[in-house]
């Protein structure tokens, strides 16, 4: 974890209200694991006061990339930043995805992405294809409409199979990415289970958690939460998790990636 002033290399629109930013951050890129995030101070003035968290989307050489959607004042300011400006960022933060080991008995990998949730899953797909090239990766991407679908080609270039779902049916399956997952199931009992990784809106993750319980496959979900400190100090971002009765876990430090089974939705 480091705090640096990172130079903006790219900040461009890639869809309606969707942007991609590349930052020169070799110290963070070297340490970063899929599922981890950076905590960005979008302005030296306030409001907005608090930093904004963004999943690391890709690491390429000395630069890191994030994907973001403009949802409020913080991301609006971010979208107006120019190439060459500097951003105060903290990272890499949090606990990322646990990669399947080479010996684990899984048939293949399914990634389920909703909206900008694709961001961390592309980084994960890259890491898996490097670490374990034999595993086949199926990517299920969901969005409201075809304009909001992101990263389809990036996954294909990695050799992943990609299926898409749009809520209005303007592209691919009409419905949700979690429906695509359900269509893919049930699996025959004698086959090894797939390992599922999901990132997207909490309603989607909740549904996928339920499906994973029903069909008993391992499932990791990456939660989105509003954060204050981002380093585990303020205890503002907790989620309810299983304990002797229950306990609270910090999204920023114990997550953002959790086993779906350990959460109490």
């Amino acid at each position: 974890m480091v705090q640096i002033d990172a130079k903006i290399l790219v900040n461009e629109g890639i869809g309606p209200q969707r942007h991609k930013m590349a930052l020169y951050a070799p110290q963070i890129g070297r340490q970063a694991k899929p599922g981890q995030f950076i905590h960005v101070r979008v302005s030296n003035n306030f409001p907005p006061l608090l930093r904004r968290p963004f999943s690391i989307h890709r690491v390429e050489g000395q630069k890191i990339e994030i994907l973001y959607k403009v949802v409020g004042k913080g991301t609006e300011i971010l979208s107006e930043k120019k190439r060459g400006e500097y951003l105060d960022i903290l990272g890499p933060l949090g606990k990322g995805y646990r990669l399947p080991s080479a010996t684990s008995k899984i048939s293949d990998i399914i990634l389920v992405a909703g909206g900008t949730g694709v961001a961390s899953l592309l980084f994960l797909a890259e890491a898996i294809s490097v670490a374990n090239a034999e595993l086949s990766i199926l990517v299920l991407i969901g969005a409201k409409n075809r304009e909001e679908l992101l990263c389809e080609e990036d996954f294909r270039r990695l050799g992943c199979r990609v299926e898409v779902a749009t809520e209005n049916g303007s592209r691919g399956y009409k419905g949700l990415a979690s429906d695509l997952l359900e269509n893919y199931l049930p699996l025959s009992e004698d086959r090894p289970k797939p390992a599922v990784f999901a990132c997207g809106p909490s309603e989607m993750l909740k549904r996928i958690g339920k499906i994973s319980r029903k069909h008993r496959f391992p499932c990791q979900v990456s939660l989105e939460e509003r954060l204050a400190c981002g380093v585990g100090a303020c205890l503002g971002c907790v989620v309810k998790a299983k304990g002797s009765s229950y306990t609270y876990k910090r999204v920023c430090k114990d997550g953002p990636v959790f086993d779906a089974g350990e959460l109490i939705w």
Binding site: R41, L50, D88, V231, C234, G236
Partner: protein, 314 residues
């Protein structure tokens, strides 16, 4: 050749209620965890002191989320004193501080006066520099209508009982949710407190207009950050005129200028709270900025700044 007096570096060190501080800039309870969360980013040895997250007798799970929401230049929180409890604090968190040369002040809170006394007794003999009584958390139910710091009588009882139970320097964290904070500060002084920390957060709320639900699960929370700074400053100014014991000024400090305002208003030391979330280096930047200010204005000793407000003659 003898060094000229004016070339000497300014003295930022202070004695606060018997604790030696390298500089008057501390980090406030609840915003810096148990120190370890920030150790990778901040040189803890440079801090004036660390006030640890409030500890209770038994571990507390804290409140249901959502616990936090940003408001205009502020943050509302309703954490509910989630903490590991005094035993785990002593066994698991305290050893970390032995590696550092920085005073540790332990913040404690109880549901009853007896619990405050018991906490103070349990901490006897531990390597800590002082205690801060948190009488002012707005986010927990005390089994009574008011928080301790809203009632002069119970404030007096808890401070004097803890005073008898410990020889450690004793600070009291005051609530701004009162009519007259000076009278509560005076009660603390009379009951034997060595200092007062002010202020804790203001009770506030925020509403989601689409769902018409309060954003925080507990409906209300404590407001902190730059939004409350002018009120905190006014309260430090008032309390400074009412008591002789030192004041730790807290409330929305983001810059050295903010910290100096509190010192000029009468605070012997300051603590950074929400500023740590915005920039973990806030305390370090504040220390450096105070030093630069002192050099620029040829001030040799920070103590000469305390309460140096120049009011206009009427």
């Amino acid at each position: 050749m003898m060094q000229k007096a004016k070339d000497k570096p300014p003295n930022l060190g202070i004695e606060l209620a018997g604790i030696s501080l390298k500089n008057p800039v501390m980090v406030a309870s609840g915003t810096f965890g148990y120190g370890e969360e920030y150790a990778e980013l901040v040189d803890l040895n440079r801090l004036g002191a660390i006030v640890a997250k409030t500890i209770t007798l038994k571990p507390r799970l804290g409140n249901e989320p959502p616990r936090i929401v940003e408001t205009a230049s502020g943050v509302l929180n309703s954490i509910g004193l989630q903490n590991v409890g005094i035993d785990a604090f002593i066994n698991e968190k305290l050893p970390f501080f032995r590696e550092y040369d920085v005073p540790l002040i332990v913040s404690i809170a109880g549901d009853t006066i007896d619990e405050y006394v018991q906490l103070a007794k349990t901490l006897k003999g531990e390597e800590i520099s002082g205690l801060e009584l948190n009488l002012s958390c707005p986010n927990i139910k005390y089994g009574r209508k008011f928080m301790f710091a809203q009632d002069p009588k119970t404030t007096h009882q808890v401070v004097s009982r803890v005073r008898k139970a410990t020889s450690l320097p004793l600070m009291v964290k005051l609530s701004p949710n009162v009519t007259d904070i000076s009278s509560i500060a005076r009660v603390c002084e009379e009951a034997g407190a060595d200092g007062v920390s002010l202020i804790n957060t203001f009770t506030g709320m925020a509403i989601d207009i689409e769902s018409r639900k309060p954003i925080l699960r507990q409906i209300t929370g404590g407001l902190s950050g730059p939004a409350i700074k002018p009120i905190a400053l006014r309260m430090v100014y008032e309390v400074h005129r009412a008591v002789k014991i030192p004041i730790i000024g807290i409330g929305g400090i983001m810059t050295a200028g903010d910290a100096l305002e509190f010192i000029i208003a009468g605070a012997e030391a300051v603590a950074i709270g929400t500023g740590n979330f915005v920039d973990p280096l806030t305390p370090i930047k504040v220390i450096d900025g105070i030093r630069e200010y002192m050099i620029r204005n040829k001030i040799k000793d920070i103590k000469s700044m305390v309460g140096s407000l120049q009011c206009r003659k009427s």
